[in-house]
Amino acid sequence: MTAGLRLKLENIVKEYPGCRANDGIDLTVEAGEIHALLGENGAGKSTLMKVIYGVVQPDEGRVVWNGRPVTVDSPARARELGIGMVFQHFSLFETLTVAENIALGLPADEARDRRKLDQRIREVSERYGMVLDPRRYVSTLSVGERQRVEIIRCLIQETTLLILDEPTSVLTPQEVAHLFTTLRKLAKEGCSILFISHKLEEVRSLCHNATVLRQGRVSGDCRPAEVSASDIARLMVGDDTPISTRVPAAKAGDLLLQVRNLCWKSSDPFGTSLKDVNLDLHQGEIVGIAGVAGNGQDELLKALSGEIPRTRGDMNLGGFSISGLAPDRRRRLGIAVVPEERLGRGAVPRMSLAENALLTASGQGLVERGLVRFSRVREFSREVIRRFDVRCNDEHSTAASLSGGNLQKYIIGREALQNPRLLVASHPTWGVDVGSAVAIHEALVRLRDEGASILLISEDLEELFQLCSRIGALCDGRLSTLAPATELTIEQLGQWMAGQFEHAEASHVAA
């Protein structure tokens, strides 16, 4: 037995109908080690985590915990062993306090004495620099603070292996730095951390070791600090995919989209209202909107697409007011939209690719006198598939049968081939394989060079700095100023994402 070997997975196999999610995976994590688990979407990271945390049972293979083989048949059992997990989507009750949420996960005898529990929460949170008031209601906490609740919930149960699933995707750069300090301190005290991510720079700065998965298998192990990000990317995507795009500078033209004092009140108590958003977009430029998830990005997209019908303020496209127009009317004026959810909004899962072309492209001569011209629909669909290199059987394949990246290429292609004047794209490369991401970036740049304006909403700062000429950030439904990407520092953007911009400044729009 190796001293300090905390977790050892041997030949883990998990098969789902139609897909072998884990195909013989070995993994070791030592005590006090921060271990990265890397891989593209669909590489099998989540499944492996669920195996460790007892959410699913492996079909084959062995889990060895502190030197002894164990069967982790439920998350409760995992917690008993000392395995804690923070999911990407938090499992907190918004209407309960921090302490109440933490008490829910504890054995009854520990949960009963509230005063003692409050004391423990304070102790743990101060020890690791995660200040948190146990009496506060979760609904009043920021996303970063909610994540702290989840982490403290694990730590309070004497966790010796903490699994974090993409923990930084919801944080500003400053919050990320703070989280990393906490994690390093935890590791120093002997807690092992399994850190799931696809952000290579973070992994390089934080993790001691990394295991890279590709298509359900381990494609390599490395010490991330000692190899370059592109070496790791190579392990993630394989040998034959390009991994980045070069973007020539844009030549911005006339003003195309003008948004003035756009307001929208959300009727959902946990939704985000848009507050006095001002935005100018010129022909032939890509403007980026950064922001932590849930700060009004989707609402802004819906306000522009027309999915939210009643907004206040003015929206002008080429001098023509589009406020109050239905989505199909706006589309006819040249607005194309790529929503965040590919399946279930951007495309109907059980319909064919051809039918999904008809969803937004009906104005391209595909419908005549109320009748669908199916031959033209198929032709248009084949054109998208060919020009955007969509990997599928043919235009009769259902949208649900395509991989995320291929479906995204199809959706972007469907919008791009309609020659839009304005494309609003939300998270176009989220969860997309690297090869498709490059193709999507190239398609956006091509569209820009043809004179279209693009509003790119993304949480991926690297993507924004790579593609955009101007960048701003949304926080709590307010939009910061848009600064030229070349002059904007990541620290400045991070502050904007955290809402630190003067409101007076926000309503002034940089020309």
């Binding site: 069967t71 239905a326 937004t360």
Partner: protein, 368 residues
């Protein structure tokens, strides 16, 4: 142990095998029921399924019952494709019958080719208006259409009963609650001389074909499908759910209204309280059994029409209660819904229970 497991892809085979399987199971259960009641099951099933259609008159009767089912089912298909659970075909049907009768009673002595179209149109309009109430409640007040349409069915029935007991009652009808017999010009022509089969069946077949064309060819049919399958994609594309809801309900009301009008101007020739043996409800089974597809609902309407005349046959020949029809229809729907589960799911034999290592055993295990 048996496990119900989601299929990676929906089964196309089961989609069409399911109705056949459901029918088979219905027949088997029917066999058992006849046995339990001490009747000869073979004789019973023969009377129910075969005797009624063994001659031309029988086949014509089948077509007669198919007509209203087809018309109602065609309209409901438009609603159900868009996931609008309109249960109100019965009410639309009754209002169609009432509306046509109101006009026909005024035109008893009229003659000319225009009389029948006017009467039928009155039925169509009445049915559509009745459906419009549910549509408006849904689009403007967000009332659940299942509840409103069911309640409107009862209101429609009571309006019809009021009419035959009051304003439309034949003053020379010996106190029977029924209207006067309609004039010759208001009656549907027969399709086959010597039988009761009338033009209504042609309307039904035409409606089925129209529904096929709507969904196979038209953009509005596509929009209805999108709204039904994925309302968020529909909102994204800008298809107005409100406009499509109105369209579906008005079509549903118009076709069922025409069915009601065809019934009073066809075999009955006057308005009577028992104008519908539940066609509007049975049409719901027809739509699901027919897979919301034109050819499917034609076949399914024939089968369910058979349950009506088969039930009548059993009453006459074997002294069985009238409820037999409803029983067979219920069994069929029940089995169909059960079998439909296998379109999305499959049964798998569970592997032997996985090894559970109790905590004590782990503590005692030798170190690796």
């Amino acid at each position: 142990m048996l496990l119900l497991e989601r299929r990676p892809v929906d089964s196309t085979l089961m989609r069409w095998a399911s109705p056949v399987l459901a029918l088979t199971l219905t027949v088997i259960t029917g066999f058992g029921l006849f046995l339990a009641m001490g009747k000869d099951p073979v004789e019973g099933l023969t009377f129910f399924f075969i005797t009624p259609i063994s001659d031309l008159i029988g086949l014509a009767e089948l077509g007669l019952k198919m007509a209203p089912l087809l018309l109602c089912a065609a309209g409901l298909t438009v609603c159900y494709r868009a996931r609008l659970w309109n249960i109100g075909a019965e009410g639309h049907f009754l209002m169609g019958a009432l509306g046509a009768s109101v006009v026909a009673v005024q035109l008893v002595d009229a003659s000319g080719f225009w009389v029948l179209p006017v009467v039928l149109l009155a039925g169509i309009v009445a049915g559509a208006l009745w459906a419009a109430i549910a549509a408006g409640l849904k689009t403007h007040l967000h009332c659940n259409e299942i509840l409103t349409t069911i309640m409107l069915n009862y209101i429609a029935l009571n309006l019809l009963l009021y009419a035959v007991h009051g304003p439309l009652k034949d003053p020379y009808g010996f106190g029977f609650p029924q209207s006067v017999m309609f004039g010759e010009a208001a009656l549907l022509p027969d399709l086959i001389p010597g039988t009761r089969l009338h033009l209504g069946l042609a309307f039904g077949l035409l409606a089925a074909v129209s529904v096929w064309a709507l969904f196979a060819r038209s953009f509005i049919g596509f929009q209805l499908n999108v709204v039904g399958q994925d309302s968020r994609a529909a909102a994204f594309a800008g298809f107005s759910a409100r406009r499509l809801t109105w369209f579906a309900f008005l079509v549903g009301g118009a076709t069922a209204g025409l069915a009601g009008a065809s019934e009073v101007t066809g075999p009955i020739g006057q308005l009577v309280p028992q104008v519908s043996p539940g066609y509007g409800y049975t049409a719901i089974i027809v739509v699901f059994l027919g897979r919301m597809h034109a050819l499917g609902i034609i076949a399914a309407s024939a089968l369910l029409a058979l349950t009506f005349i088969g039930g009548e046959m059993l009453q006459i020949a074997m002294n069985m209660p009238k409820a037999t029809t409803g029983l067979f229809q219920g069994l069929l729907l029940f089995y169909l819904l059960t079998c439909d589960a296998f379109i999305h799911y499959r049964i798998r034999l569970n592997r032997p229970a996985r090894q559970f290592i109790p905590k004590a055993a782990i503590a005692a295990a030798p170190e690796v």
